[in-house]
């Protein structure tokens, strides 16, 4: 049990982005930005959520940060709201730069905007939404952690997350195509094909760090014989860190470019790789900013797409995956897309032994990397990893039951879980659902 809130010193983590942002602020400027922000950017939801919270504390048990930090009240969802929005509203924006530092640290690095607490609040108060409004305020104040802001800069300069140039993108695809042709000589990664059934989009890190995923996707697409294409222009990246830095204007430009690229190629739908936050961006948040109630082109997440291929027997499983597996439900596609049952069906199609983690499905704990936290980079790594001890315990339980493989169909989850597995010495292996399918599927015989 945690004792004494006041006894604990406030740690301030050095961050060049926050520091330089703070330098440029005066108390007067802070007040004017906040006043304008509250007037123009907050509405009924903000008002009702902050008005009706009866401080019952039920949200606390939902938050992995709270649970992992020995139940420190400062890490409970409503505790974070109290320290941020509570202060701002009470002082009507008359806060100092010291406060803004704390605000940015809480909003960017102590909440994964995973929405688990929404399911524990009797009123359904969306603390994730409230924290995102605070990030938006930080963005307007120019106080954003350096690393994630750099990613947002990359988005605005290149329309992808990783500063990848246009030719590098094409080059990566051709490289993976060449590699994959060793295995399937007739394999193609069709670029710029007009009117294809499927426009396949991925996130920046795939060509940058995890090119084998492009390879595997190409093998799966070719084996299943689907009509697909990828663009040779910007718009191929469906990721979106601007959604998490509070730069909604840039988020809008990104999503527009992604949707318009699919439209330019007259694709029937977009299938996206195994990413969580990108799904949130294209399916839920980005399209709304642009005024589309639902995405203008149907969106299928990789998990649902694999399920489709297996049901239609376009992909056949040659042999079941031998080792026992467990499954991590990524927040953005489970609480954000309801893909938990479909994912389990895919696992049942492909794996011999499946071990559930507890809690699971909508109630699964976040990996603590999502919501842009891992993108805030090294300064916050320990806070993030130690702030998710409950995930380590949850994984340990699954391992005890025999699961050495963790399937997580989300890039951020991979990053977050990798750090947790390493830090807590769990010795478990991480896999994408695509990895499992690639390993177990029937591939066409060489001719």
């Amino acid at each position: 049990m945690y004792e004494g809130v006041k006894a604990e010193a406030d740690h301030k983590i050095d961050d060049a982005g926050i520091d330089s942002g703070i330098q440029a602020l005066t108390d007067k400027k802070i007040e004017s930005v906040i006043t304008k922000f509250l007037k123009s950017e907050t509405g009924a939801r903000f008002k009702v959520y902050t008005d009706i919270c009866v401080h019952c504390g039920l949200c606390a048990d939902a938050c992995h940060f709270f649970l992992s930090n020995d139940r420190n009240p400062k890490f409970s969802p409503s505790g974070k709201v109290k320290q941020t929005i509570g202060e701002i509203v009470a002082k009507k924006g008359k806060v100092n730069s010291e406060f803004i530092w704390k605000l940015a640290e809480i909003a960017f690095t102590e909440c994964n905007v995973c929405k688990r607490c929404v399911m524990y609040c009797p009123f359904g108060i969306d603390v994730a939404y409230l924290m995102l409004t605070m990030r938006r305020l930080c963005h307007q104040l120019g106080v954003v952690p350096q690393n994630i802001q750099d990613t947002a800069h990359s988005h605005s300069a290149t329309f992808n997350q990783m500063w990848i140039k246009e030719d590098e993108w094409i080059d990566s695809l051709q490289w993976q195509e060449e590699e994959a042709r060793e295995e399937l000589p007739k394999l193609r990664i069709p670029l710029e094909k007009q009117g294809a059934d499927i426009f396949y989009s991925v996130i920046g890190p795939e060509p940058k760090f995890r090119a084998q995923l492009l390879y595997q996707a190409a093998v799966i697409m070719n084996t299943a014989g689907v009509d697909w294409t990828m663009p040779a222009t910007p718009g191929w990246d469906n990721s979106d860190m601007c959604m998490y830095t509070g730069d909604y204007e840039m988020m809008g430009r990104l999503k527009r470019s992604h949707f318009e690229t699919a439209m330019r190629l007259k694709a029937k739908r977009i299938v996206m790789g195994e990413c969580g936050h990108a799904f949130r961006s294209v399916y839920d948040v980005g399209n709304r900013f642009l005024g589309w109630k639902m995405p203008p082109i149907p969106i299928t997440h990789a998990v649902a797409f694999y399920h489709e291929l297996l049901i239609a027997k376009k992909i056949k499983i040659a042999h079941l995956f031998e080792e026992p597996v467990t499954f991590h439900d990524p927040c953005n596609i489970v609480r954000g897309g309801g893909l938990h049952e479909i994912a389990r069906e895919v696992i049942r199609y492909t794996c011999k032994t499946f071990i559930e983690m507890i809690p699971n499905r909508e109630h699964n704990y976040c990996c603590s990397a999502g919501g842009g936290l891992i993108n805030c980079g090294a300064p916050y790594k320990m806070k993030r990893v130690e702030g998710n001890r409950v995930k380590a315990e949850q994984l340990k339980e699954a391992k005890k039951k025999g699961a050495n493989i963790v399937i997580a169909p989300c890039h951020n989850c991979h990053g977050g879980l990798e750090d947790i597995i390493h830090h807590y010495g769990l010795d478990m292996k991480l896999k994408f659902l695509g990895d499992i399918i690639y390993e177990t599927m029937e591939k066409p015989e060489d001719e």
Binding site: M1, A44, A62, R71, P73, P122, R335, G336, L339
Partner: protein, 219 residues
């Protein structure tokens, strides 16, 4: 005594009716208008089926994970809210007064039941108070207004209980009972008690988002 009684049961009662109903309608309408101007998505995504689905999961005891995690709190909260509504609305003495002044009436519950319910409300309030003081994460969140609101809710029940049993200072306690009941009603639209007004809206909206857009549960 007549002067004070005539004031609390006369002009003050009318004020209460106006502030409670007027204030509640004003609060709801102004939020709906604000949502229309600045959160139009709330209307776009609101879905009655999923809204109700969510509401049901949160007004039935133990129909969601949060309640299962806190069984004692769940039992106390439900007992508290049920008694809080039923005891005053179906108390025989209240029915008689309404019958005499408006000539309308409805069913009533036996006094002994109302008495037990009142005790349950008072005990629940004590439970909430202890919880607020003793549990660190709740203590951390608590502001002075949280304690005041709790007292505002408990007051009509404590005074009502004392007045019913006529143990001490009957006249003063009875006047305080009427007064505290009026204060509580007037506070509903303008304090944290407004969760009574907005519960269905926020829960319904979240239910719609989770059900219709995100295809998942929110309980």
């Amino acid at each position: 005594m007549h002067l004070i009684y005539n004031f609390v049961a006369g002009p003050l009662l009318w004020l209460t009716v106006i502030v409670f109903f007027g204030g509640s309608i004003y609060r709801i309408l102004s939020i709906l208008k604000m949502a229309h101007q600045k959160d139009i998505a709330v209307y776009a995504y609101f879905n009655p089926f999923y809204a109700l689905r969510s509401v049901f999961h949160w007004i039935i005891p133990f129909a969601n994970e949060s309640m299962k995690k806190h069984p004692l709190l769940t039992i106390v909260s439900f007992a508290f809210h049920i008694c809080l509504f039923l005891a005053p609305l179906f108390l025989f003495a209240h029915i008689i007064l309404i019958k005499q002044s408006c000539n309308i009436s409805w069913g009533y519950i036996p006094d002994i039941v109302a008495d037990i319910m009142t005790v349950m409300v008072i005990l629940s309030c004590i439970f909430f108070l202890i919880r607020r003081i003793r549990i660190p994460e709740i203590h951390y969140l608590s502001t002075r207004s949280d304690y005041i609101v709790l007292a505002i809710v408990a007051a009509p029940f404590i005074t009502g209980f004392l007045a019913y049993h006529q143990w001490v200072a009957y006249d003063i306690i009875s006047i305080l009972h009427i007064l505290s009941g009026e204060i509580m009603l007037m506070c509903i639209p303008f304090t944290k008690l407004n969760h009574a007004l907005f519960f269905f809206l926020t829960r319904g909206y979240m239910g719609s988002e989770f059900g219709k857009v995100r295809h998942s549960r929110d309980w």
